[in-house]
């Protein structure tokens, strides 16, 4: 879409928000409809497809054998990657990961890693020698805004779906599994767009284009905050941050029911 057309559309978003209205008639603190399904790929140890309104993403988990880092010989690890595939939006391009893709994958990574959702000691097979590396890869199929939350939901759903391959003689036995991956908690991101002086949950693409700043907060099912990420050119007041935290805590409970 041309910049000029985006400008017309974002003007509409801003005009509506002055009356606390969104173009799709959602409440300011409401998510779009969410659908979660698994079975995206049999070759994956776990996978999920998430539709968040018209935003559509997939996540897949591969459990790969590796050797531990010297400074944590008894721990496996995770790796989160996101590719902003040009299939999903006309402004994306192939090539080495750009800052946008790096940011979202690192935020989803921290949301899972630092919430201690996975016990990295469980991912150690043989201390100092063999561990699991849990690769979580994220792709958009259609981006209509808020990839942060869509990726976060899909990543968690894929982890919930993940089976651990069976091992014999230090090698993976293809197609056989020794059980499910254990998750200690369920962290989820909730992302807000600040447009003028209004803050809305789960922005669409046009709301994203209209936004001055972005704020994401990750909450867990046991009521912890586990990640923040502020982005965009504008700033937030402390009160706005607190309000985002409140809304995120409630909204993520609704999302978790879909998993």
């Amino acid at each position: 879409m041309e910049p000029v057309l985006w400008a017309l559309k974002t003007d509409k978003v801003k005009a509506a928000l002055k009356e606390e209205k969104r173009l799709d008639d959602r409440a300011l603190d409401a998510y779009r409809d969410i659908e979660v399904s698994n079975e995206v790929s049999k070759n994956a140890e776990g996978s999920a497809r998430v539709r968040l309104g018209k935003t559509d993403v997939i996540a897949g988990v591969k459990m790969i054998l590796g050797t531990p880092y010297p400074d944590s010989p008894g721990e496996g690890t995770i790796s989160v990657g996101a590719e902003l595939h040009p299939m999903a939006f006309s402004e994306y391009e192939f090539g080495p990961p750009k800052p946008d893709a790096i940011e979202v994958s690192r935020v989803v990574d921290r949301c899972i890693r630092e919430s201690k959702t996975l016990n990295f000691k469980d991912l150690c097979i043989k201390e100092g020698e063999q561990i699991w590396i849990c690769f979580i890869d994220l792709y958009p199929l259609n981006d209509d805004g808020n990839l942060f939350d869509a990726f976060s939901i899909a990543g968690l759903a894929a982890l919930i779906d993940t089976k651990i391959p069976k091992i014999e003689d230090d090698k993976i036995v293809k197609g056989e599994y020794s059980g499910k991956l254990k998750l200690a908690r369920q962290p989820l991101l909730s992302t807000f767009a600040k447009i003028g002086n209004t803050v809305v949950l789960d922005p669409t693409m046009v709301e994203q284009k209209a936004q001055d700043a972005r704020f994401s907060v990750a909450t867990t099912d046991d009521n912890y905050l586990c990640a923040f990420q502020k982005g965009g050119f504008g700033g937030f007041t402390g009160a706005e941050i607190d309000s985002c935290i409140d809304i995120a805590t409630k909204a993520s409970k609704m999302v978790r029911k879909k998993l």
Binding site: V40, S41, K42, N43, A44, E45, S47, K54, D56, I58, G60, V61, K62, I64, G81, E83, H85, P86, M87, A88, F89, S90, F94, F135, D137, Y139, L141, N142, D143, D144, K174
Partner: protein
């Protein structure tokens, strides 16, 4: 793997290891119009293969020095999701993916009336979500449906399948188990079904000329089965050719208008 040493009957009493007949495709379904942002799109399942395709264009090709003033360039980009294969695929495009993208771009170029859209590119993004032998035929077959969905005027659809040999038997649409036979020969083939013109053909393995003739015959048959599924999928979305034609016309008008502006 150990099986390689035993004698396997790849066809026994007319049935293959997965129960299929020699001339039978794995289950194939195509859904049209699955990506909202794209100009055209399709989702295809073929056995375990799962493929999604988005078409964007014709749109101006940038940088300008890559433009062809005589035609649109079809840019088919085949990529596998990291988790679509038994071992995790490195996210960077592999040489295999680059070669497949090249030969499939060339196959589709033949089918599209590219000369009507000079200086543009038609991007065809093909993402393999899951795979089990035959993903390039799956991607190419889905892509031509997505092109039609985008209203790109075409000489014909491109229908593709695998065909080849396993355990001495000439069979259609090999699955991974058959492709791993010690004497396996895999032949991806794509045709424009109306004229049977071959627009993609690759082969590797050891084959006699006689075996090849059987493969060709069977491959063409297979492509025609794929063609039926492609047409049914398009039919299902559009009330026959009407809607397609409408979209096609729109594109051409758009192109014509652009030319005037210049």
């Amino acid at each position: 793997m150990a099986k390689k040493d035993e004698k396997i009957d790849y066809v026994k009493n007319g049935k293959r290891v997965d129960g299929r007949k020699v001339e039978e495709l794995r289950p194939l379904t195509i859904e049209v119009g699955v990506i909202d942002n794209a100009d055209g799109s399709a989702y295809l399942e073929w056995g375990q293969n799962k493929v999604i395709v988005a078409v964007y264009g014709p749109r101006e090709l940038l940088p300008k020095h890559k433009q062809d003033p005589r035609k649109a360039i079809v840019n088919f980009q085949y990529r596998m999701a990291t988790f679509s294969v038994p071992d995790r695929k490195n996210p960077r495009p592999a040489r295999r993916e680059i070669e497949i993208s090249k030969v499939c771009s060339e196959a589709l170029q033949r089918a599209v009336f590219a000369e009507r859209f000079p200086n543009t590119v038609i991007d065809v993004f093909v993402q393999i979500l899951d795979s089990n032998a035959g993903s390039r035929a799956a991607g190419l077959s889905a892509a031509s449906v997505a092109l039609a969905d985008a209203g790109i005027p075409m000489r014909d659809l491109v229908a593709s399948t695998g065909v080849g040999k396993a355990g001495g038997e000439i069979i259609l649409d090999l699955n991974k188990f058959e492709e791993d036979a010690p004497d396996a020969v895999d032949i991806p083939i794509a045709i424009m079904p109306r004229t049977e013109e071959i627009v993609l053909l690759q082969m590797d393995g050891l084959l006699t000329t006689k075996e090849w003739k059987k493969c060709l015959e069977l491959g063409v048959k297979g492509c025609k089965q794929v063609y039926e599924v492609q047409r049914a999928a398009l039919q299902k979305k559009y009330d026959a050719a009407g809607a397609v034609k409408g979209k096609e016309k729109k594109k051409e008008e758009k192109a014509a208008k652009k030319e005037k502006v210049k």
